[in-house]
Symmetry: C2
Subunit: 376 residues, 2 copies
């Protein structure tokens, strides 16, 4: 387990790095496709590896805990073996889903009480059992349990909230140190910065979590409704404080533009459901701009889905065909759009790394943002 | 365009053949995966070719006519190019869907009037325009417009119905002869036997349609609710009459057992939604029996989906994982089950051909039926 900064950009805070995990070395900046319930929706594992060329994927502890359940995953020998994915996996702590999905939830100093969105059954996540669950899942990178502060939150609430998150972190770190991996390989444990949209709280939180030695550090509670400018401001304030020799992970973000802006501010890792979820709804990201596949203009456009795309779907299928599939709610439409979007996100990260290596990231980023922001 | 009978089984009416089409030569007996709306649901075209190893697929004229519409397919240069499938395609005539899907339908001597199940718009299929539509789709094998007699139908209705089907056939044959392919390759046109469950009507219909020279002949209106024994009886009565030097296609059939029993009675071609639709619902066919993936017993069974399967999914994923995906309604579950079932159907046809070549089909069939009928 180690992180090495390979290169720094000349005009921005962007940097290239290598994050070594038990299941492979990840070049950063990197985007992690979201595999909510042990599957990146509509994508075979071999496609993830060979076509999307994902270096690491994300699993959701909340979903996996409820279904198939920790016991099944433990019996399988961990999530890698359960889903037959040999690359690195990061799992979130479930905190975000408890707040966004469960029908009932109640925070106590002890942990987060919630009822399942599937069957209403009651459960509790604590800083300690969230470590145990992620030990059983066997994630290469585990996340600390935090409160994902809703937006908007008033200052007093946000301040109280980071206190809880920090107390939970201390307990989680302790339990992490006191427990062993189950499957013979090392696991990392990342603390999470919170603090809503208040710069001083974000900075205080960043200082607090940085006081715990960890393999990497995350920023949570952003891209939850606040203006983009505010998000960038918070990221900037936090990345200045987080240890420079550790990877920085901006959770749940975002659009391709968000990724480039955050890389310029020193972020190394991302995850987001946008390429997969928006893909299933017919929204494609390309290096020439965004495509709403439902638009009537594609009905008889027989050009390739993305002539410059890196995935086989980009040149195998036409826009008119993909539009037909999306309009007809055909599963293959979701498959094609998802593969395209994920491949684009991974390509964008690879290109960002190339430009950082050239010391040209700032200039390239501004031009790329102009291109990808267009609507085709 | 030609059909050659290569071998005949010794104790059954099974035979091996080769059907030459403009997009490739098809070994028979063969199963055709159903690609309703220009896509075999949940399967990429490269998977159809390389993993399922499909020799020919089926498209539904009714669905394609309504969406994306004939004009889009014509502009694409035909369905092969629209969906990027280079192998042979057969399209049905839409008659079956008019009766099973459309909200309103009315038969007249002129044709079948119906309203779309998508938007309620009114349309008419005639023996002539069904030829034109399939010319525009560019199917290698086109089907005549028929009335798919509902089950049960009384004798008088069934007799009147075959008269209509035969009149439509005469008009369709005439229009087929008077029109040209649109894309520079030849198309075939298959008449369809009807006659419900009445042996004499089936025989009369078989004689009537055999009076038209055609590249192949189909049997429709079976597997619509009648007992299996009755279906086999009808198939037997008809295959004795249909020209022995032409392929015989049993439409919409069926289970793996149905296929083997029909092959033994001289059938060469099949299509059915069962492997795809049942797969999406978690029902798997294997050479050791049927698997209901929703059964709790698979929850922690980490053995391969099908250790003897021919498709990559069979050994890539475990039963416990597939069950989790199916129970969680994950798209990948539909993808895996569909690929498995189609690969099994295609394997079963290949093995049937091998056994026919050995003159051992009858014995093998009885043993195989015992195996595949079990519930695992």
């Amino acid at each position: 387990m180690s992180f090495t900064v390979l290169q720094k950009d000349t005009t921005t805070r962007a940097r290239n790095g290598l994050l070594v995990t038990a299941h492979g070395t990840i070049p950063t900046p990197i985007f992690m496709p979201v595999g909510t319930a042990g599957t990146v929706k509509a994508v075979h594992q071999r496609e993830l590896k060979d076509d999307v060329r994902a270096h690491i994927i994300l699993g959701n502890t909340y979903h996996l805990y409820l279904r198939p359940g920790v016991e099944v995953i433990r019996q399988a020998g961990g999530l890698h073996r359960f889903m037959n994915w040999e690359g690195p996996i990061l799992t979130d702590s479930g905190g975000y889903q408890v707040f966004s999905l469960s029908e009932m939830r109640k925070l106590t100093p002890e942990g987060a009480l919630f009822s399942s969105h599937i069957d209403g059954s009651r459960h509790m996540f604590t800083p300690e059992n969230i470590v145990d669950i992620q030990r059983a899942i066997g994630a290469d990178i585990m996340m600390a349990l935090d409160e994902c502060t809703p937006y908007p939150s008033d200052y007093a609430y946000a301040r109280k909230s980071i206190d809880l998150t920090h107390q939970w972190l201390a307990r989680g770190m302790k339990h992490f140190a006191a427990t062993e991996p189950l499957y013979g390989y090392d696991q990392m444990y990342f603390p999470i910065v919170q603090g809503s949209v208040y710069k001083d709280l974000r900075q205080a939180s960043a200082r607090e979590i940085s006081s715990h030695p960890a393999a990497g550090y995350a920023i949570g509670g952003l891209s939850v409704g606040e203006p983009e400018g505010v998000m960038y401001e918070m990221v900037e304030a936090v990345t200045e404080i987080l240890p420079a020799d550790r990877p920085r992970y901006l959770m749940g973000v975002g659009t391709p533009v968000n990724l480039l802006e955050a890389i310029a501010r020193g972020i190394d890792m991302f995850d987001c459901v946008m390429p997969t979820r928006n893909g299933r709804n017919g929204m494609l990201f390309t290096r020439r701009g965004m495509i709403n596949m439902r638009n009537l203009k594609w009905k008889d456009d027989f050009s390739a889905v993305d002539p410059e795309g890196t995935c086989f779907v980009d040149t195998t299928y036409s826009k008119a065909y993909l539009r037909h599939l999306i309009m007809s709610k055909e599963i293959l439409g979701a498959q094609i759009a998802t593969l395209h979007n994920l491949s684009f996100y991974l390509w964008l990260m690879e290109e960002a790394r190339n430009q950082i290596a050239l010391g040209n990231f700032g200039t390239w980023k501004d031009e790329m943002i102009r291109q990808i922001s267009r609507k085709l």
